[in-house]
Amino acid sequence: MKKEPIIHVKNVSKSYPIAGKEFMALKQIDLSLNEGEFAGIVGPSGSGKTTLLNILGSLDKPTQGDAFVLNKDIKALSHNEAASLRNYHIGFIFQVFNLLPVYTVFENVEFALLLQNNSAKERREAVMRALNWVGLTDHADKRPDKLSGGESQRVAIARAMVKAPKIVLADEPTANLDSENAHEILKTMKKLNQELGTTFLFSTHDEKVMGYLDRIIHLRDGKIEKDEKNKL
């Protein structure tokens, strides 16, 4: 029996008004991702990578076409349904980490679970498990401003993974990291992908990232130029 794709994008276009003109960020994109894939959308700045991730993360809606994530039509989701999808099934990792500055590492990671109304014991166990994955259990009480860039991104990974989501969307996760930290982060994500079966979709133009990807989707000027298995 053929497995249902976890992400299915069909003929998706997205346009924005810029200086009174419509700018086409995405042009008739077709894409499918299966569960457990470790894939990346690769392309130069302005190619539409982040726009596509935002649509798949239900933060934005396509202007045309259909995007299905976990069989849910992104276009048809209400605010609350989209929030619920993000809260339970989608983890985000951002380029600039986006950690909540006044929270400790523990509280940052705990946040998603708070929204799910888990008990304090469940939350504690899950947060410590997630921090253990990224090797930051001894930093639980620190604030983000006391962490290095690599540590901050690892907290962001723990935050994305703590709720055991089906999909993690990582927008240029290594762009603000040095080479050593970038490799560490990517190894961590690869390990989580293999151990937990979580689907990872990156947007990147970083050569280092490409080495870790199983599948590379090349995007240029809002169009998929090439979609290939990584031979590296």
């Binding site: 933060l59 934005d60 929270y103 935050r159």
Partner: protein, 384 residues
């Protein structure tokens, strides 16, 4: 709601200095509002108590021709004391002139039974005195006429037929009362003496009534209850309270403006944070609620901080009181040298509710903008 509350506390405790400043400003307003109101309430209670004890008793039964606020009615505003006079302490008013140190001053001679106990006036001294015309006066008249206890002063009055007469009064006591109405220009004399001086035997301008008075329908006498007599005083204090509410309204407005500004600034500066909340699965409505609750929590923290330094201050004030400058005591209303604040439950609850509700409203107004934010732009921290 519980989660938003928890997060709001977390956010506020996290942003230490900003929270501290807002909380301090708001707590100061909270303490000042309670203090100003409690002083007004203290004044109200003290003024009512003094007025009842020194002037009003349980009410006045006033001759229909006599108007206490119109000196022209003193001449004819009197009548025979009714036969049924249980619970009535008669007071007869007559106009007179005194000549302290060669000056002439218009005064009102007020005849009262030296054995009365309904008013706090020290009238027993009048009975005990060996002087021919012993009188008591209040400290205000004593000061304006430069008279002291033991002094003598010439007095001239007219009897019932209009004939002038004169004699010498002996100041046997200068009493200290907070009620200017029984003091300024008033000389208290035994009513029997005044009846003799004026040929108005057994007549009174009005009566102070006590608990035994049953308020029968007495022709030519009108009854004014204690409540009715206190009305002017209450109206005056309420008017002062209203005027004062402008002051604490301004104070509260400044504190609320600080919260409003913080909220506006927060929504601009915390765009990335708002975007992150939404990306992590918070609905926009919940983010609006979170920011609104943050504003309300300022007021809750302000109440706690205000209580920490306010309660000892309130206790200290209730023990030492609030001194009233001598100039203010000459305003013509019952005003003690020291006013002791009264902290009523209603006052505290009203103040707490006012502060919390107004802080919530000023927090909600800017927070509504969050509902319209584009989360994609917010995540990038772009100003919207």
């Amino acid at each position: 709601m519980k989660l938003e509350l928890k997060l709001a506390f977390r956010n506020l405790f996290g942003s230490r200095l900003r929270t501290l400043l807002n909380v301090l400003v708001l707590s100061f307003s909270f303490v000042i509002i309670i203090l100003l109101n409690s002083i007004m309430d203290g004044w109200n209670q003290q003024a009512q108590k003094d007025s009842i004890e020194w002037e009003f008793g349980n009410g006045h039964l006033i001759n229909e021709k006599f108007d206490p606020l119109d000196p022209y009615t003193i001449l004819d505003g009197h009548d025979k004391i009714p036969e049924e006079n249980i619970g009535l302490t008669p007071i007869l008013e007559r106009q007179a002139s005194i000549y302290p140190q060669g000056r002439m001053m218009s005064v009102v001679l007020k005849g009262i039974s030296s054995e009365q106990e309904i008013l706090k006036l020290p009238t027993k001294i009048l009975k005990e005195s060996k002087e021919e015309f012993p009188v008591i006066i209040g400290k205000r008249l004593a000061e304006s006429a430069k008279l002291n206890k033991g002094d003598r002063v010439q007095v001239r009055w007219r009897d019932s037929k209009g004939t002038y007469d004169a004699n010498t009064l002996s100041i046997t006591e200068v009493f200290d009362s907070n009620v200017p109405n029984i003091d300024n220009g008033k000389i208290w004399i035994d009513i029997n003496k005044l009846w003799g001086m004026t040929n108005l035997e057994n007549e009174a301008s009005y009566f102070v009534v006590d608990g035994k008075f049953k308020n029968p329908e007495l022709s030519s006498w009108n009854f004014k209850s204690q409540f009715a007599l206190l009305k002017n005083l209450k109206d005056l204090i309420n008017q002062k309270k209203t005027a004062q509410s402008v002051v604490y309204g301004l104070l509260l407005a400044i504190a609320l403006l600080a919260i409003f500004d913080t909220q506006i600034l927060s929504i601009f500066r915390r765009q990335k944070e708002i975007g992150t909340y939404i990306a992590l699965g918070m609905t926009r409505l919940r983010v609006v609620r979170l920011f609104t609750i943050e504003g309300s929590v300022y007021s809750v923290l302000a109440l706690i901080v205000g209580s920490i330094y306010g309660v000892p201050f309130f206790i200290y004030m209730s023990e030492t009181g609030f001194p009233i400058p001598p100039a203010d005591q000459k305003m013509g209303i019952a005003l003690a040298e020291v006013i002791y604040p009264v902290y009523g439950l209603k006052l505290i609850l009203m103040t707490v509710l006012t502060v919390i509700i107004s802080a919530t409203i000023v927090s909600y107004l800017p927070a509504r903008k969050i509902a319209k934010l584009n989360p994609v732009l917010a995540l990038k921290g772009k100003k919207q």
